[in-house]
């Protein structure tokens, strides 16, 4: 630009560089503060997660319920059925839930094992025909299934997302709740040893 060189430039360069630096460092200082707050906020969410244990439902008896069957089935599911079965597993699933499909083969395989404890299904907030098709296509590993059309029993169980899995002991108490997909590893390392202990 065709400006006359302004003395200010020289003056500015002459100013102690340390003082100028302070101004330029201001943004990063503010940012560090904000980032600390955000990390703390997110970290706290993680903590709460950890503090959730043990759950209010853990060690509590099963909530009382009676559910109708899924379309095409004769018998539904009630808390009495589960209590009568002794040590057992209750799996909450739905045909609209992608992750349920992921864990489904694990249940299919589990149900074929000779030493398997009874596996019950809680079909949460599903369309009747979708649930029926789903079971027809993928197979039915469950001993009995209850159709929880409006999700009310799921709420009693504290079900938050699908899938979830509960382990129930011989006295009808809930001893374990697993949130999310059941993997082979979870089943082998957590669920099965626990069941062996409960039976044994």
């Amino acid at each position: 630009m065709s400006e006359q060189p302004e003395p200010i430039v020289a003056q500015e360069l002459a100013r102690p560089i340390a003082r100028r630096r302070l101004w330029f460092a201001l943004p990063i200082l503010v940012f560090v503060g904000i980032a600390a707050a955000l990390v703390f906020g997110l970290g706290r969410q993680g903590d709460e997660h950890a503090r959730d244990l043990p759950s209010a439902l853990i060690d509590k008896p099963l909530p009382a319920f009676t559910l109708p069957p899924v379309e095409g089935y004769e018998v539904g599911l009630s808390d009495a059925d589960i209590k009568a079965a002794g040590v057992s597993i209750l799996n909450v699933f739905a045909s609209w839930c992608g992750p349920c499909q992921v864990e489904h083969p694990i249940w299919m395989a589990y149900a074929k094992q000779s030493d398997a404890v009874p596996l019950f299904g809680l079909n949460s907030k599903d369309q009747p025909e979708n649930a029926a098709n789903w079971l027809k296509k993928l197979g039915d590993p469950y001993k009995l299934i209850g159709a929880d059309r409006d999700g009310r029993v799921s709420i009693d169980f504290g079900v938050y997302g699908v899938p979830e899995t509960f382990v129930i002991d011989a006295t009808g108490r809930i001893v374990l709740k697993h949130i999310g997909v059941m993997t082979r590893k979870d089943l082998d390392q957590t669920i099965l040893p626990l069941i062996a202990r409960l039976k044994g």
Binding site: Q45, P54, I58, C97, K125, Y160, H178, I179, D186
Partner: protein, 161 residues
């Protein structure tokens, strides 16, 4: 005016703008921050009669009723420990359902009824307002996952010690 003075003028203008903004923020915060309470917390706490607050929890099963004008709705919001009567004179949002999470904004009347001016039911099968989930967790009735659990959330196992 000297150059130095001019620079000072700009710095002063900047500071003034920041100061005014800070003042505006603080005064606006003072009157317009809306606190969230669960029904249990509300029982233990006094609120100013004209204070706008948010409450949240589950819509109690069987508690929803409409008054004769066809517009005023009454329902109870529960965190499974305490519950609170709510009146709302407006159309309910699309996602409002019994047994599901809800957040309402309004004022607590002297007779203990919550008069809602806004009802938010923003969740689907996989999603529930975080405040509601936290409120339920605080009341010790619900041990869901923190935050907004999605169906494909990472695996978590809870077990009795």
């Amino acid at each position: 005016m000297k150059r130095k003075h001019k620079r000072l003028l700009f710095v002063a203008a900047g500071m003034a703008a920041l100061g005014i903004a800070a003042g505006l923020i603080i005064s606006a915060f003072d009157e317009n921050l809306v606190f969230f309470f669960s029904p249990t917390e509300l029982q233990a706490r006094e609120t100013r009669p004209d204070q706008r607050i948010r409450i949240g929890g589950l819509v109690e099963e069987g508690s929803v009723s409409k008054e004769a004008d066809g517009v005023t709705v009454r329902f109870r919001v529960t965190d499974l420990t305490a519950s609170l009567q709510v009146v709302y004179k407006d159309l309910l949002p699309d996602l409002f359902r019994e047994g599901q999470g809800v957040v309402a904004e309004g004022k607590l009347r002297a007779d203990g009824v919550f008069e809602a001016t806004e009802v938010l039911a923003k969740h689907d099968e996989n999603y529930m307002p975080r405040e509601v989930a936290d409120a339920l967790r605080k009341s010790g009735q619900w041990k869901g996952q923190a935050g907004d659990a999605k169906a494909d959330a990472p695996n978590v196992t809870e077990t009795a010690k």
